[in-house]
């Protein structure tokens, strides 16, 4: 061996390989070693990511980095490794079984064109668990779970990843003399590369189907599955494309704070719970947030809890706000002191709480929703003549609430409403319009 030249990447002290006599896995492992020798890669820059199954035993015999993971998930670690360190050569050894249970990852890795090399040890069945059928088992084949012959169509792995963006796709058998060169080519390819390597599981598939190399090739031909390099393109590799696309983000301020400097004051003495109920899509949450920010500008401590259905723009939207002079994380658990109810969705959701409001509570409600059953003092809000859009009604009602209760100065509310310049004008108009609702 000349200095710097490696003649093998296998750990010879650990040989022989653990596979059954005649198992195609041994051939592929030897070919992979030959490919690595051809490329003379630094073994520390090579990561073999192995799946579960007989093929997954292979990494133990290589003197490279190894990550042996779960059944079908090898491609996910490979993706994470490549994303974190695009310089690494990440090679996935996966069985046909793994491409089935992990088909989702295979498809998406191809679609992203993430720069990993996937070598499929395709022996047409599950070797490790006893010769059950896999997604690549040919029609008619007998396996432990298809005793009368397989009824399903096999997955064309190459076509599947090929039409979905894989950068380099090839098919051959484990007995192909050109396989080392092909593997080397796949490893050198920048994007997602896959070689579907057909081979024999002597313990099961050969036993159950009197199979041999000639039949392996015959089956490929019968299925119309092409061999050789089937897809090839030089589209952008994902881990680098990500970095390129987001390069200009680098150094931008991280989560810049949105300071609220108290400049006003509030006469509030005890914590006050305000419930704002309305319709989803009517900016209930944003109005409540502005109301809370106004409170913070007034030296109060506010919390805002929201309740909404899983849909975004239908049904109710409720914000429960607690304002207090102390900084405990008050989350509403007692009945509201003040309630604002808008829209039929808000009323429908909150009829129960409205009915249970105490006589000390105040209910501000769109007059059009009256009458309601409640012991609270009812303050009707007259929206009948407003020309304001419904998305501003919550801000309007909260302006009316502040005017009615004097919880904190309206000026603080206006300042909060103008915090986001794009919305300032509309928000301020809504507040002014809200001040006419009480009459």
């Amino acid at each position: 061996m000349t200095a710097g030249t490696r003649t093998t990447y296998l750990n010879e002290a650990l040989l022989p390989l653990p596979f059954c006599p005649g198992c195609g896995h041994s051939a592929i492992v030897r070919h992979l070693d030959a490919a690595l020798v051809q490329l003379q890669l630094d073994p520390r820059q090579v990561v073999l990511v192995t799946d579960i199954g007989c093929q997954g035993l292979a990494d133990c015999y290589f003197d490279t980095n190894a990550f042996h993971g779960l059944h079908g998930r090898s491609i996910t670690y490979a993706t994470g490794i490549k994303l974190a360190n695009p310089d690494l050569k990440v090679i996935v050894l996966i069985g046909d079984g793994g491409t089935g249970i992990g088909g989702h990852h295979l498809l998406n890795a191809a679609r992203r064109n993430i720069g990993i090399t996937v070598l499929v040890f395709n022996n047409l069945n599950f070797g490790m668990t006893g010769g059950e059928h896999s997604v690549t088992t040919p029609p008619g084949a007998r396996t432990a779970t298809t005793r009368q012959g397989h009824l399903e169509r096999p997955l064309d792995l190459c076509a599947t990843v090929g039409v979905n963006g894989a950068g380099f796709v090839a098919r051959t058998t484990a007995y192909d003399k050109q396989l080392p060169a092909l593997i080397a080519q796949a490893i050198q390819h920048d994007g997602f590369a896959l070689i579907d390597i057909w081979e024999l599981c002597t313990a099961y598939f050969v036993e159950h189907n009197r199979f041999n190399r000639a039949l392996l090739e015959q089956t490929m031909a019968d299925l119309g599955f092409g061999t050789g390099i089937l897809y090839q393109h030089d589209g952008p590799e994902y881990s680098r494309a990500y970095r390129d696309a987001l390069r200009d983000q680098r150094g931008q301020p991280v989560m810049p704070p949105q300071p609220l400097v108290p400049r006003y004051s509030s006469p509030l003495t005890a914590p006050c719970h305000i419930a704002l109920a309305g319709a989803a899509g009517a900016k209930i949450g944003s109005a409540a947030a502005i109301f809370c920010q106004g409170a913070v500008l007034s030296g109060l401590w506010a919390t805002q809890r929201s309740d909404y259905p899983v849909t975004v723009r239908s049904g109710h939207s409720v914000a429960d706000i607690v304002l207090s002079q102390d900084d405990a994380f008050h989350v509403d658990t007692t009945p509201p002191d003040l309630m604002v109810v808008l829209f039929s969705e808000g009323l429908k959701k909150e009829r129960g709480r409205i009915a249970h409001l105490s006589a000390k509570a105040t209910l501000l409600i769109d007059a059009a929703l009256l009458p309601v059953q409640t012991a609270a003092r009812v303050v009707p809000l007259d929206f009948s003549t407003t020309r304001q859009k419904k998305e501003t009604w919550a801000l309007m009602a909260l302006a009316a609430l502040l005017e009615h209760t004097g919880l904190y100065p309206l000026e603080a509310f206006r300042e909060a409403a103008a915090l986001r310049p794009a919305f300032a004008e509309a928000n301020l108009a809504a507040i002014e319009a809200g001040l006419t609702l009480l009459t």
Partner: protein
Amino acid sequence: MREFIDGAEAIARGALDAGCTFFAGYPITPATPILLHMIRELPKVGGIAIQAEDEIAALGFCLGAAMAGARAFTATSGPGIALYSEHIGLAIMAEVPVVIVDVQRMGPSTGGATTTAQGDIQFLRWGTSGGYPVIVLAPTDVYDCYRLTQRAFDLAERFRAPVFLATDKDTGATRATVESARFERVPVRARRLADPAGPFVPYGVERLDDVPPLAHLGGPHLVRLTSSSHDERGYLTKAPPDLDRLNRHLAAKIEQHQDEIALVEADLQPGAETLLIGYGITARPVQEAARAARAKGERVSALVVRSLWPVPEDAIRAALTGVRRAIVAELNLGQYRREIERLARDDQEVIGVHRVDGTLIGAEDILAEGGLA
């Protein structure tokens, strides 16, 4: 400086301040805001954030990235934790540092996406095969969301293990006024890397409770990582002495260091008859109930548990000392109450205040249950 932010934002800030460089997640209410924050913010610090094809891939990406040098982070809710399950096992087995947020929503199954709950507390502990310990922290408010996220990253590095942050829809999504000065940034724990010059044994430890130093894929050493039972060098094994060593190590490295993980806030009153216990969203009502009861002349202690797993047994036993009964408040049907029952003496009564209707437990509920109202 005061701000008005929610738990998700505090969690994202905590992660970024803890040196997070990698996030992978899959959208799910109520955890999606964390995904969106990380997608937006991580590229600014040269990190990577990606929406994966599903939760299995999300955690898989994290595990691969972590071993290639990243500080990895993911966030989901109950259904996603279910899909994480097998990879949580891999993180334990291969000893991969990773932080996992569970913003709990109501279960079982799809349950209530926008409804709060604390139903995953035992699930997080026992959510993967084998039964080996994990670390679970539970924030009580927005400050805790920040603080405990940093702590989770710290513990993940310290123990080379998955660390969970068990929060809930209302702690995660409730916005609150915060004084930013109270977001105390703690120094980031340097990853303990194997000596680049020395010999490297991937899972070599001197004592069972030691944590093996880590070497990155692509670094100076050849690294072997595996989900399968392995010897110190990371080779598959079935040899009983190796298996025994491995499995006892996975337990010991966490269980024998409970004192480094335990995080409780004990507000004990001498001569107290009753101990109120809460965690997460039930912490504040527990503390409030204790204050209210004391104002009425009752002798009451309060205990907030922030490190749920491993159970901080010494601190809980100490808090239980002398009381006649404990009242545990939680948004499930008694999941952590079981742990308290296990630690209580036979003559101590353990009472649960449980709610599974999507509404919160208030101080008044705890007072009523305890006859303290």
